[in-house]
């Protein structure tokens, strides 16, 4: 895992949009008033979406003020979870899983494809500023390893060629459909091997 880099530049002024304010009300209503601080996670996520994929200090402070937490506590939370970015990322945030199953299934090929297409290595942003590559730990989709997460979507069963295709589609701003690149569900590549007899029945498996 890479070290958290916190962008402390205070030239980014963040405030929630009026639309977001309504969402915040909705989020806060899910928590008891005295447990309002629990809403810090969804609010940080919301702020990150509003601020363009990352959380400037001013956004952290805006969230802290909303839930009544100390700034330091919010910074601790935001730096603990990898889903929050504390420095700017590109329009397409590529998160490559390098944990054992993905690595065994060829996550290195994906890295190579990214480097060949965009000339970026892990923890780098492309010169155009459109792509940021972040290595992450297990994304929880080992069944269709290897995985590349692009913003909110998982692209599964990638290899060198399919990664290139995906990146080219992103470059054209017309991303491919997410999911398995070879069109399988969560089953072995060779098809289902167990529970064949109960196939088709309800409540099977």
């Amino acid at each position: 895992m890479s070290k958290t880099y916190i962008n402390t530049n205070d030239q980014f002024h963040f405030s929630f949009s009026t639309k977001a304010e309504k969402t915040i009300e909705n989020i806060l209503s899910k928590y008891p008033p005295q447990r309002k601080i629990s809403a810090v996670m969804p609010l940080l996520d919301l702020a990150q979406r509003e601020a363009g994929g990352w959380l400037p200090i001013s956004a952290l402070e805006a969230v802290a003020d909303k839930v009544g937490l100390a700034y330091m506590r919010v910074l601790e939370i935001a730096s603990f979870y990898t889903m929050y970015n504390l420095s700017p990322v590109g329009k397409w945030h590529l998160q490559i899983c390098g944990t054992t199953p993905c690595w065994l299934k060829g996550s290195d090929d994906i890295l190579n494809a990214i480097f060949d297409t965009l000339q970026i290595k892990p923890n780098e942003t492309s010169k155009t500023g459109d792509f940021t590559l972040t290595p992450v730990e297990c994304l929880g989709a080992c069944v269709n390893a290897p995985i590349l997460q692009v913003n909110d979507d998982f692209y599964e069963d990638l290899d060198y060629e399919s990664t290139k295709k995906l990146l080219e589609s992103l470059l054209k701003n017309k991303p491919l459909k997410f999911g398995s690149s070879i069109g399988r569900k969560s089953e072995p590549e060779t098809g289902t091997t167990v529970l064949l007899k109960v196939k088709g029945k309800k409540n099977a498996g």
């Binding site: 895992m1 890479s2 402390t8 700034y71 330091m72 506590r73 910074l75 730096s79 603990f80």
Partner: protein, 685 residues
Amino acid sequence: MIKLTVDEKEIEVEEGCTVLQACEIAGAEVPRFCYHDRLSIAGNCRMCLVEVKPGPPKPQASCALPASNGQIISTNSKMVKDARKGVMEFLLINHPLDCPICDQGGECDLQDQAMSFGASKTRYIENKRAVEEKSMGPLIKTNMTRCIHCTRCVRFSTEVAGVNDLGALGRGENMEITTYLEKSIESELSACVIDLCPVGALTSKPYAFNARPWELTHIETIDVMDGVGSNIRVDTRGNQVLRVLPRLNEEVNEEWISDKTRYAIDGLKNQRLDRPYIRNKHGALEPSDWDTAFNKIKDGLSKVPTNKVASLVGDLVDVESVFSLKLLLNKLGVENLDCRIDGAEIGQDGRSGYIFNSGISGIENADALLIIGSNPRIEAPVLNARIRKRYLKGNFPIGIIGPKSNLTYPYQYLGSNSLDIEKLKNKSNSFHKILLKAENPMIIVGMGALVNDFGSIVLNFLRELSEFFGVVQKGWNGFNVLQTAAGRTGALDIGFTPSKKGLNAKTIFSEGEKGNLSFVWLLGVDSKDVLKLKKPFVVYQGHHGDVGAHIADVILPGAAYTEKSATYVNTEGRPQLARQATYPPGEAKEDWKIIRAFSEYINNKLPFDDLDGLRNKLYEDFPHLSFIDEIKKPRWSKFGTKGKLKSFELNSTINNFYMTCSISRSSETMAMCVDQLNRKKLVAE
């Protein structure tokens, strides 16, 4: 009660105990880093592993495991020893092992425990991680590579100090302890994290590379930087005070001390008066000797009638010196004497009217608190930590009439005007019901409410209010005056106040300014008002060349609090013994000795020859002072003057926490703290 067995020894412990506490009660040593009695339990260092049956067949962290009936605990089985060795190995993976250049060396928990419980060598050849140093202000030196992430500092600043400045950023191997955006910790207790840090990650900046712990002599004494009288340990080498550490006293300061207590000591080296001085014809002070100085005072004193003689004692003066001076002045028939140099109208009728009656630990028994004319955070940080401790237990409404300040707990703001005190009597007042309903209500009165022309009337009003709300009842006295000066309570106990015909401090200053006084003896008085005394002949007896020395005609060099064996009475009325740690510089002497010597010089010898004789006489006249460390609870009596409450603003008497006395004003470290604070204010503006 819970019965359990620790290392084949059967013991009984109270319900709610942890296994670690049970082991301690049984006398078994359990190593630990993150666990601390006064902080919440984190359970993240894993050093306190013990074997517990019945339970899972693995070692368990004893600090976070509740003790329960029938547990069989072993703290020295093979499993436990191996587990500790393993934990220690993990802790040392990324620890730099730079003990020879680390200030914690010799008093380091990690060093000691690695010796006792660790393996003899490392199996790691990989590179260690390195962490950048953090900026935490002028007091705390950081070396975060050494940090083992016990999070004691984070828990201390959040829980005890009440500031959310420290935190742990990142996770796993990349976790780093730091302050929010690398600002300094905004707390008056911040340097306590240095004591808490079990390794050398947070060390003392002013003390950096000064000494090794085994070179130091430890003297247990009392602090004089505020009215609390924190128990401290002064570490010296040669004749130099190198550092101050807190000493455990559950009743007073628990185990915390303020940054001023800890770091003002470098002021003991600067601006010292090390020999007598006399003002010459040209108006300049020139060095002299004791005989000449005494002669000059004798001359000055002989020509004037006693009603033109006055004497004041300052904030840092010990009981013995005040007592000696009072005896001398009584012999001379001087009636214009006062210790309340800030003009506070307290102390002339009844001891219960000027002490912290409930005691500092009494705060924990209160269930409602009203603070009047005080900012306890800067007037007595350690006491403020106690209020916060009580607040954290819950159900503790706090109301404030006085300065609106950033305290470390939420409060109901009831106004800043003296008339707001009167409004409390209205049933419609929001705090009226709270005080009435509370079983043990408490009022803390700061000097801010008493240092003005109506102080005595306010005091009377508050006494009546206390009686009305049951602040004073059988078995409970919650009427508390928060003294800001270490020597004040003692001086009031001695009765260093004007007689009925005598002038009080305020009038001494104003009459002195007009030229109606001829002779003023100042014992450690360094308030700004002293500058008014330009006309009379002024003797300044004290230890620092501060305000008082500037206008003096004769200077008698005295001893500072670390240089004498003396009694100080804290704001609770608790007499405590300060012990001598170093010798006064140059020709300076203990203050009582100077007064005793001068009394002989003018053929009015005081009736004692040594400290024991002085104390015997003192205890004879004031028996309650002989009960060291005990509070003799005074009877509730009438105090204050009847009158109509006038309107005035209540402010704290202290504006600048870091500089309140001649010692802290001479301290370079305190100056750096002020500088830091000012810079922060500039940024904020």
